[in-house]
Symmetry: C2
Subunit: 336 residues, 2 copies
């Protein structure tokens, strides 16, 4: 069995910087493009920094054509700067983080009212808003507690295109269905795992991410929505490389690295559920329609020949352990 995807997109990707960028960027090269997260240290907050980062990504990608949808770390903006930002090549939207909610988000927004005037202008200028939607509450409740904020945003800014990033709960899906101006990304791992895989047997740091994987009912609802071709649900890997020593030592960092195996694993998952026909929309079609994207043209053929996932990816002095490290995945990318 085979399927050829047109210009697959990863709508939520962490590439980091420096040597880690050099390692990770080529591992996303099967995608035609990606929405690049801005939470570096320090975060990407200005068009200049963004343009420079985009250039470093282009360089790290080498010869591979790849459309960079760059984001800026949300901070309040004036109308003049917003107009300038909007016209910056490769700019896609703002990523809003509640302050301190995840990796490198210390400079995020503490009170949503501080964002109001900027959000009104973004609505007017049709600049997308991407949100890490978690409260500071109990870890299993953070996303559901944040849904009130999403509801408020969707109501107050009816024309603002709001992406609920990396949703993990059935409740978030329900909210998605209530508002036409909401869309959402979901990761590979949240279609597959639950908290059981992180902490139900032995503790597994390589499946620890934020938001944390939730209950079986949540996972099942997300998977079903993807398989059913939900028109406003998009694939965003949230692939988040950390050096090995930040994962396997005490106090491990949050993030699952899936970029190099995401397309094969998604193909296997959709094939297993007889839903391969919905994969194109999930990994590209929905995003292109919702945001009017036209990434570089790239065909990727996936086939039901197994892929062996290496125990780790190493280069430039960096080492990253992927999901399914050392295991086989039922599908792989067919090389020309």
């Amino acid at each position: 069995m085979e399927i050829t995807l047109d210009s697959p997109l990863d709508m939520h990707l962490h590439l980091r910087d420096g040597d880690m960028l050099k390692l990770t960027a080529p591992l996303s090269a099967d995608f035609a493009g990606a929405v690049i997260m801005p939470n570096l240290v320090p975060p990407i907050t200005t068009p200049d920094k963004m343009a420079a980062y985009s250039g470093r990504i282009r360089e790290a990608m080498g010869d591979s054509p790849f459309t960079r949808y760059m984001t800026l770390f949300f901070t309040p903006q004036t109308e003049a700067t917003l107009k300038c930002i909007r016209n910056t090549p490769e700019f896609f939207g703002f990523k809003l983080y509640p302050a301190g909610i995840t990796t490198n988000s210390e400079g995020g927004i503490a009170h949503m009212d501080d964002a109001d005037s900027t959000l009104r202008m973004m609505e007017e200028m049709d600049i997308p808003l991407l949100v890490h939607g978690e409260s500071h509450g109990f870890v299993m409740d953070r996303e559901t507690e944040f849904l009130a904020v999403y509801r408020d945003l969707a109501t107050r800014y009816p024309k603002l295109r709001i992406s609920m990033e990396h949703i993990t709960t059935a409740a978030a899906l329900e909210l998605l269905d209530e508002f036409e101006n909401l869309c959402a990304t979901v990761t590979l791992q949240h279609l597959i795992i639950t908290l059981d895989d992180v902490a139900g047997g032995a503790l597994n740091p390589h499946l620890f991410c934020k938001p944390i994987a939730k209950r079986p009912g949540d996972r099942d609802a997300l998977l079903q929505a993807a398989l059913n071709g939900h028109p406003r649900l998009m694939f965003g890997s949230d692939s988040a490389p950390h050096p090995l020593h930040r994962k396997e030592c005490c106090g491990c960092a949050a993030g699952v690295f899936t970029a190099p195996l995401a397309l094969p694993r998604l193909a296997a998952l959709f094939a297993e559920h007889h839903a391969l026909g919905k994969l194109q929309d999930f990994v590209s079609g929905n995003a292109c329609r919702i945001f009017g994207l036209a990434p570089v043209s790239k065909q990727v053929t996936l086939t039901d020949t197994p892929m062996h996932v290496p125990a780790s990816y190493r280069s430039f002095g960096q080492q990253v352990v992927p999901m399914y490290a050392g295991q086989d995945i039922a599908w792989s990318i067919k090389k020309a």
Copy 2:
């Protein structure tokens, strides 16, 4: 401020064996005695093995008087063997594990009906039953799902003394209040932490245990019951040493090591909530009354002078990281 405790007991303790036993046993020597768990590899299933293990513990304890309440790993028994076991010195009761539910429990009970005839005889002979009460379900639901089994046991064997080991939920406390023949142990960490402390920030393997820490409401209910002097709630540390490399590597083992700091931290906790007067019952009185225990006489004076918890405990080639490693606790044991 000071409090002197009479013969404090740890009603649920893992001492392991070999070099690890030599390291851990003396670290429980402030207690007058403890209920010793039998899930070694292989588990302690016969009076002979139990007597030999008890001897090794006595030796590892050195000069410290310490009452060993030994348990046997529950397997179905005949009347003759039960009568023999009951008369074995130091025998306290059977510990029942659902098969495969926690560390070294592979030989546990798969179907509770297989235990029926043994449980009837234990009821008749007044042999206590200690239970690791978790289902094989979703990690956050395992204890609540098991409550139906506890209810069934408490109903079918009304004179059997059943200890719900290391309870972690408000729902378990509610069940405890329904049946006079149920009692329960609770650990130090489950009075203090929630899943947030394990996986809410960075992943913390040293606070990962089974049953996993639950929601804030569960923690609050357990703490309140302890502070209120619940007459059938007993301290059982479930202190569970693992070698450092089994905790900080990928796939870390479940267990929190608290034995050497449990009494100071409990004193600090009860003092903080103006409930020091309830501590004696929690750490000894309730257990002695419920089970008719008479441990060695040992007075332990706790004082509000800080204790510094070492980064790890090492000896005999073993290294174990305790809860609060490298931190200060507000109370300490007053040495004579």
